[in-house]
């Protein structure tokens, strides 16, 4: 099985050379694709020089990570796709191999990478609670928003790519709906810049939107479901119903 590594990126000229070279060193990697979000620096030029296939994403929107991921999937020729952030400072070929291995071995159709790092705020405060609410079967994933994923190319063509930050959790839910065998793989420590707090609002909004849209699509929000769910939630008895009140 051949592996295609896809880096969605924008203005990462200082990272691209190392990332592309590292990716080519991983076992089974046939091609490296850099999908550019409209860089103004030398990202594309360096990527091409290092032997990566390059394309600018079809729709220059912000955030456009999902558009880039979709374009990467469409351009790829490998049987297995591996997506990685390009600016992982401690990236090694093993990152890619660990992600691709379960798919290559036929043990899984979709792999979510998890890594040691400080808990993501959007993950802990938005993604996990909403997943627990609507897709409890996916609550087992430690890092549902992880952008380090791998999967069979043919399955990526059957799912919907959210345009923005909700793409990772959207793919997780959609692959689950397809009945794909999904595993989470520990890929070690990831040295990566975290977003500042003020930038997280957009991200949280997109993530919540991706989960809620799917919840509505999958009819998880109808009154019958809501009642069943709420019955399971312990309520603090303020005595309002019994009429005792605060008196």
């Amino acid at each position: 099985m051949k592996v295609s590594v896809i880096f969605p990126t924008k203005n990462r000229e200082h990272h691209v050379k190392r990332a592309v070279r590292t990716a080519f060193k991983a076992k089974g990697v046939e091609e490296v694709i850099v999908v550019d979000g409209g860089s103004r620096d030398r990202t594309l030029e360096i990527a091409e020089r290092e032997g990566a296939r390059v394309i600018v994403q079809s729709d220059l929107v912000y955030p456009g990570k999902g558009v880039a991921m979709r374009d990467g999937a469409y351009l790829a020729r490998g049987d297995v796709l591996v997506y990685l952030d390009i600016d992982i400072r401690n990236m090694t070929p093993e990152f890619i191999e660990k992600l691709a291995e379960p798919v290559i071995r036929g043990e899984a159709d979709f792999v979510k990478g998890c890594f040691e790092r400080a808990a993501g705020r959007v993950t802990e405060l938005v993604a996990k609670p909403l997943l627990r609410m609507f897709y409890p079967e996916l609550a087992r994933f430690k890092q549902p928003l992880s952008g380090e994923i791998a999967g069979r190319r043919s399955l990526f063509y059957m799912v919907e790519f959210e345009r923005g930050w909700g793409v990772d959790v959207g793919l997780l839910i959609d692959f689950h709906k397809l009945g794909a065998r999904m595993v989470e793989r520990d890929i070690g420590y990831k040295d990566h810049d975290m977003k500042p707090l003020h930038a997280l609002t957009d991200m949280a909004y997109e993530v919540a939107g991706a989960i809620l849209r799917r919840a509505i699509r999958d009819q998880k929000t109808d009154p019958e479901w809501a009642e069943r769910y709420l019955r399971g939630v312990r309520a603090i008895d303020l005595g309002l119903e019994s009429g005792r009140g605060f008196a």
């Binding site: 999908v35 390059v54 394309i55 600018v56 079809s58 979709r70 374009d71 469409y74 351009l75 063509y157």
Partner: protein, 219 residues
Amino acid sequence: MRVLLIGGGHSAYFAANSIRGIDPDGKLIIIEFTSEKVEVLSKTFPFAEVVQQEIDGVESYIRSNASILDAVIAATESDSLNLRYCKTARENAVPLIIAILNNPMNEGIFAKEGVRHIINPYGIIPVELSEILGSATNIIYKTPSGSVMVASLRIEGEDELQKIRGKLRGSEDVSTLLVSSSGEIKSSIEEADARGRLYLMGSEEKLRKILGSFRGRRR
């Protein structure tokens, strides 16, 4: 002509209608990926044969039909797919391959893959804005082969008029039309007023030489 149009979005819609106008008796095949869109396209374009194919299946379709296809037009919503299909068409010697870009920034990437006919649907924006906002020089149109260009030049003052007259003297291969500030159209530069917009048509090389000397002018 037998034309294969791949895609069912905006670009494909405009392309299908254009093809119908250009070659009303021709054979148009439209490929789409989803059955819902195939149904809609069949109703919208009853003159075309609408076929559903999976993403990977389109390449097989091109390969097996390459000997009878006259043109492949890649007009999907993804430049990645368009690039893939154009490459397959080129490798299988389809005579005419046209890509309609989603992102004009991909023009160079398509050209490197040997796609000769690349349509940038946003190309008209700078042209129209230039005309409306009165820029000094404006390239309005260039033929796909690049041999003929239409450009405009704003003339302000007698000095500029004399300068352009000098440059055009003896250039029988450049056609001109002047629209004065009052809206009057004059076909001869010799009769022109000192204010107006001059439209030139000629070879790209010639026009760029003429316009180049007017570069750097401000409003």
